[in-house]
Amino acid sequence: MPMSELTQPEPPLLEAEPPEAAALAPAAGADAPAARPRRTAVLLGAGLTGAGLALLVVGLLAPLVTVATLVLVLVGLVLAGAGGSRLGRAVAGPGFDLTYWLAMAWLVLLVGVALLAPVLPFAEHEDVASTLLEEPFARPDLASEHPLGTNGFGLDLLARSVYGARSSLLIALSAVVIGTIIGGAVGLLAGYFQKSVDRVVGVLTNSLLAVPPLILLIALATVLEPKLRNIAFSLALLTIPSMVRLARATTMAYANREFVVAARALGATRGRIMLRELLPNVLLPIVSLAIVMISILIVAEASLSFLGLGIQPPAPTWGNMIAEGEGDVFQEHPQVVLVPGAFLFLTVFAFNLVGEKARARWDSRSVKL
């Protein structure tokens, strides 16, 4: 048995525990006794969640100083999180992962709202002429007409973030689909035929990888008009090399397995072997890579818009909304950066989490992030 005592908490090695850890320690200790009656666990979890949510609401609504609000919100979040996962584990079993479900809920909510945005009662998001009378840089106030505030033209930040989600998600998803189909097909062919096909494909993918991703995007943005279709095309180009590599490696791993040899011995054509025998095995790792890829592409698209090379304002994207806060604007009006920033962070985080989970389950060769 390798040293299990190394994993036990030892005398502090580098420094004292941060205070928040110390405060949470008793709560963690309560996990240990597995025999704790289930009803108590449910009650405790529900209580913690309730208290946390209550603190959260008080923090958000009460007219307090910024620091106090922040502390209340943070403590509320931590409590609600701890309580929620306790509740979930008590109800759904020890494998329950609250963060994963929250991430899924966020993604479903975001996609739903983004799809329905034109029919939902949002304030103006793009037409500057119609908001001449609106207050510019309105502070976020959940009870008001602009719950997350407005930007310098009086455009509603919530509406802009939702419409930004439309273009971000549309661009990233279509780029991933294009990249996965092309990259997967090329990789499958290279992995199956090997030899000279593999060499040519290898040199071409290496050439695509020879330009750092963002630089490639900037170079393409110099010549292509900043339209949704063009940006999706450029982003798809970024995904192709890694898709090709993964599909090729997975195909090669399966190409000489018994079931493929058996199919060949039975006289199956190459096309049939690739489509019916190899593709189903290559598909899952590729799809899980594609999910991780979505978050990378969302960040890439946002970076491009932030640099002024993506979709042009006043049409909203998260990147160009954040860019509005450059200079001195965001010192006085932090919501201009924080609102789209929060949307961007939550979405990327959610896709990362879901993608990691998918890779851990489906791609045996996956590298830990």
Binding site: P2, M3, L6, T7, P9, E10, L13, L14, E17, P18, E20, A21, L24, A25, A28, V203, L204, N206, S207, L209, A210, V211, P212, P213, L214, I215, I218, A219, L220, A221, T222, V223, L224, E225, S295, V299, A302, S303, F306, L307, G308, L309, G319, I322, G325, E326, F330, Q331, P334, V337, G341, L344, F345, V348, F349, N352, L353, K368, L369
Partner: protein
């Protein structure tokens, strides 16, 4: 070994040629006449003719590519088409050191933060601090560098006023402290983008290493934990980290570009972004070519170094 090396070099040259062809033919993607696209409509006809002449647009495409490649190899990347029409090479030569400094400083800072964090985390695997660190680094992975940079500016520059927002003191003008003072925040932003990944990978490897028998032996001899971690556990755990540093070079370049733009530093990133925004075509071509060549060469260097770091990989593949 020699044959493999020759094959490797051959492929490298081929890749560089394809990249240069790609960079050159970017202009073919411009809709319509490149001269009109660059200058905009409504200029006198002579202006278009001059620019066409300057860019050599009247000659056949392939001979233009050869001319461009030959002069690029001789260190001439043409002139910018935006006034003051300076030599592209001169601008790149003055911008490159800034970017290199930010990138290297960022990388070093990322390591300085990531190594102790990963050690603490791995040594106390499963503890509350470890779980907080793991959650924190996973969250940090989802923060794009421009967002991290803006938040840092908001918290540090506006909060304390300790660091400047957007000036730059060149290295080699005597004022080393001033230079470091100006480079600190940009480098920290770059480091934030890198360190989460480093810390996670190193933590994973350290946990595996700490279960090995030789660590048990070292501890049984009564060596203090810090000594065990630094002199016994770190080296065998750092191989994936070195691989990862090579793999994340592209991201490092990307975040350096964004950080330079954000802090208005006179580096390659600002150069290429401004050129792209102004439609300064020769500048974009030159900068992209230089960045791509450097990137390919550094990657090839890293690949070769694996053979020395870990003899097992020498025979693994071509």
């Amino acid at each position: 070994m020699t044959r493999k090396l020759a094959l490797r070099v051959g492929e490298l040259v081929l890749v560089l040629l394809i990249v240069s062809l790609g960079v050159f033919s970017l202009m073919a993607l411009l809709p319509g006449d490149p001269a009109v696209a660059i200058l905009g409509a409504g200029q006198p006809p002579e202006a278009y003719a001059d620019l066409r002449e300057q860019l050599g647009l009247d000659e056949p495409t392939f001979s233009r590519y050869l001319d461009w490649l030959v002069s690029a190899a001789q260190g001439d990347l043409g002139r910018s088409v935006v006034p003051p029409q300076s030599e592209v090479v001169d601008r790149i030569v003055s911008a490159l050191p800034v970017s290199l400094q930010i990138a290297v400083m960022g990388l070093v800072m990322a390591m300085l933060i990531a190594v102790p964090v990963a050690m603490w985390s791995a040594y106390h695997e499963g503890g509350m601090v470890d779980r907080l660190i793991s959650a924190g680094t996973f969250a940090l992975l989802s923060v794009p560098s421009f967002l991290a940079g803006l938040l840092l500016i908001m918290l540090v520059v506006d909060g304390t006023g300790w660091f400047p927002r957007s000036e730059w003191v060149r290295l080699g003008e005597g004022d080393l402290l001033g230079n470091l003072h100006h480079a600190f925040l940009p480098a920290l932003t770059v480091a934030l983008a890198e360190l989460a990944m480093f810390a996670r990978v190193l933590r994973g490897d350290l946990i595996t290493t700490l279960r090995e028998d030789f660590i048990l032996a070292a501890r049984a001899k009564g060596m203090p934990p810090l000594r065990v971690l630094f002199s016994d556990a770190l080296r065998p755990s750092s191989f994936s980290l070195v691989t990862l540093m090579g793999l994340s070079l592209g991201r490092l370049i990307g975040s350096t570009v964004i950080v330079e733009y954000l802090f208005s530093l006179p580096g390659m990133g600002s150069l290429v972004v401004n050129a792209a925004n102004q439609g300064d075509f020769p500048m974009v071509q030159g900068a992209v070519l230089v960045i791509a060549v450097l990137y390919v060469l550094i990657n090839a260097g890293i690949d070769l170094s694996y053979g020395y770091l870990d003899p097992r990989t020498r025979r693994a593949h071509v």
